[in-house]
């Protein structure tokens, strides 16, 4: 059936209806916004996984300077060196520890520089020694046993497995993700509302045709099908356009982020397994538009005798 024939046969002339003509554009814009919000939420998921994994594979051992450091500086330095060496030995002998290295002064100074400035003499402050520990996996090390063993060789040492920071980070990223998903939900609901209002506009604009169909024996379902088909077509048209633009924007943002050369913990692009979620969005919008149009028409027709 040619497009001309199909147009000629459309029982209700939706193409002459301004609200009907505007609907694909509105749905397209909303799908674009929802697509970006969904991509953001999925990217945050990637970030959370990546950062969490990175932190789960490392620990830090902090050895504070001895309390009498101000008395005999050299003796104190020698004592803390010995403590660090003992702690390193314990760590390197522990199952599940891939590596354990004491951070050199230069590295500690670099870590403090953003807060204390470049001109500070680290020797003027009682700084702790830090040991960076790489572990084979999140549960590779028996932490209570390691803490006990460290306590015997370095009683003041503090073992930080980043659990608290990791938990806070994941909570924060999860909250951001929820905000992203809430934006998706709000936009999808707004799209459904647009469909409801466009359908109501269509019912008013085509009242005569609808009444005629009703009088010649069309069931409510038959009339609703005209509207739901129109809503499905318009939302698929707009939704596919919107999601393609959103997808292109996400790719462009990812390439832009990569071009900055920033040391991001995860590339600002969607994982392969995330793209289907974006692809589902216009289909979900179309189904919602279909159902919203059907419900609106059926409710309205119930007022007819």
């Amino acid at each position: 059936m040619s497009a001309e024939r199909a147009r000629a046969r459309a029982v209700i002339p939706f193409s002459a209806d301004p609200a009907g003509r505007l609907m694909p554009w509105l749905i397209g814009f909303m799908t674009f916004v929802a697509g970006l919000a969904l991509a953001g939420a999925l990217t945050l998921d990637t970030f959370a996984d990546s950062w969490s994994e990175g932190l789960a594979d490392s620990m830090t051992v902090q050895i504070p300077p001895p309390a009498d450091e101000m008395g005999d500086a050299q003796a104190a330095e020698a004592r803390i060196d010995e403590t660090v060496e003992r702690a390193l030995r314990v760590l390197r002998q522990t199952d599940g520890v891939a590596s354990a290295e004491s951070l050199p002064d230069a590295r500690i100074r670099a870590l403090l520089e953003p807060w204390l400035g470049a001109t500070l003499d680290p020797g003027s402050l009682p700084l702790p020694r830090l040991i960076a520990v790489e572990i084979a996996g999140p549960d590779a090390v028996d932490l209570p046993t390691l803490r006990n063993r460290l306590a015997t060789v370095a009683p003041d040492a503090r073992l930080d497995d980043h659990g608290l920071w990791r938990a806070r980070l994941v909570t924060f990223l999860n909250a951001l993700q929820l905000v992203g998903l809430a934006v998706v939900a709000v936009v999808v609901l707004a799209a459904a509302t647009v469909v409801v209002f466009a359908t109501r506009g269509g019912l008013l604009a085509h009242g005569e045709a609808i009444e005629l169909l009703h009088l010649i024996g069309a069931s409510d379902g038959y009339i609703a099908r005209q509207f739901q088909r129109q809503a499905l077509k318009a939302s698929l048209k707009g939704g596919i356009g919107g999601i393609l633009v959103a997808g292109a924007t996400v790719v462009a943002l990812g390439q832009g982020a990569a071009a900055t050369g920033a040391d991001l913990p995860s590339p600002l692009v969607l994982r392969t397994e995330d793209w289907p979620y974006l692809a589902i969005l216009p289909a979900a919008m179309a189904v919602l538009a279909f159902l919203a149009a059907r419900r609106t028409v059926l409710r309205s027709l119930r007022r007819m005798p």
Binding site: A8, A10, V11, I216, G217, S219, D220, P305
Partner: protein, 229 residues
């Protein structure tokens, strides 16, 4: 076919526009429905084509008490009733062919049957050469014939025509009445609401006369099997 018993009707909380209307039409009847403007002809027709429910009384259509029917049962009954509206009510964006085909599409008939039946009917009403014409390009008489063709395409048991000759000249009015008479001879019950006294006298079928919402009937002996009270 159709029976009204003490039917009253009002629009919303307004005054009653039909009072105690009672009549019965047997299958194959032909009736004129007459009355001055505002007498209630259109309201009576609306009740007959099931677009309104009565405020009181009983309406029985095709042996079914409509007060007992669910809303979902009504479309099937409406498909057995053809209606020719006074102002045609053709869909301007559809061709004559598609306008006539509408009841068949609504009834879920196949494309082959639609092509055959609509083509034949448009030829019968003399519009074979105007199948693809839009209503805006047709004359009043041609539009009326399209409206009649649409009303009868699904071979309704009951045909209701509201002032079918109101917008056409006498010559075309006569042709339209011959058309309705031919349909009646094929078994369709026909009710024609009209002001045209000459037409009523020329065809001399029984008539129902409405005056201030009250129905008066005038039977013509020997004309049709209908019963009127």
């Amino acid at each position: 076919m159709i029976r009204f018993e003490n039917v009253g009707m009002r629009y919303g909380a307004g005054p009653e526009v039909l009072h105690d209307v009672s009549f019965e039409l047997a299958p194959g009847a032909f009736r004129f429905l007459t009355g001055a403007s505002g007498a209630g002809k259109s309201s009576l027709l609306r009740l007959m084509y099931l677009f309104h429910r009565p405020s009181r009384g009983l309406i029985n259509v095709f042996d079914q008490d409509i007060s007992m029917l669910r809303r979902d049962d009504l479309p099937a009954l409406r498909r057995r009733i053809g209606v020719v509206f006074q102002e045609f009510r053709l869909l301007d964006h559809l061709s004559a062919f598609e306008n006539v085909a509408l009841p068949l599409r609504v009834g879920g008939h196949g494309e082959g049957l639609i092509r055959k039946n609509v083509g034949e009917l448009l030829e019968w009403v003399g519009l074979k050469d105007h199948m693809n014409a839009r209503p805006a390009t047709l004359s009043g008489g041609q539009k009326q014939r399209v409206a009649i063709a649409r009303a009868v395409i699904s071979r309704p048991a009951l045909l209701l025509a509201d002032e079918p000759t109101g917008n056409v000249d006498d010559r075309i009015a006569m042709r339209l009445l011959y058309l309705l008479e031919a349909l009646n001879r094929q078994g369709t019950t026909v009710v024609v609401a009209t002001h045209n006294q000459a037409l009523i006298e020329r065809f001399d079928y029984p008539s129902m006369h409405l005056e201030d919402g009250i129905l008066h009937s005038r039977d013509v002996p020997g004309r049709g099997p209908e019963v009127s009270r």
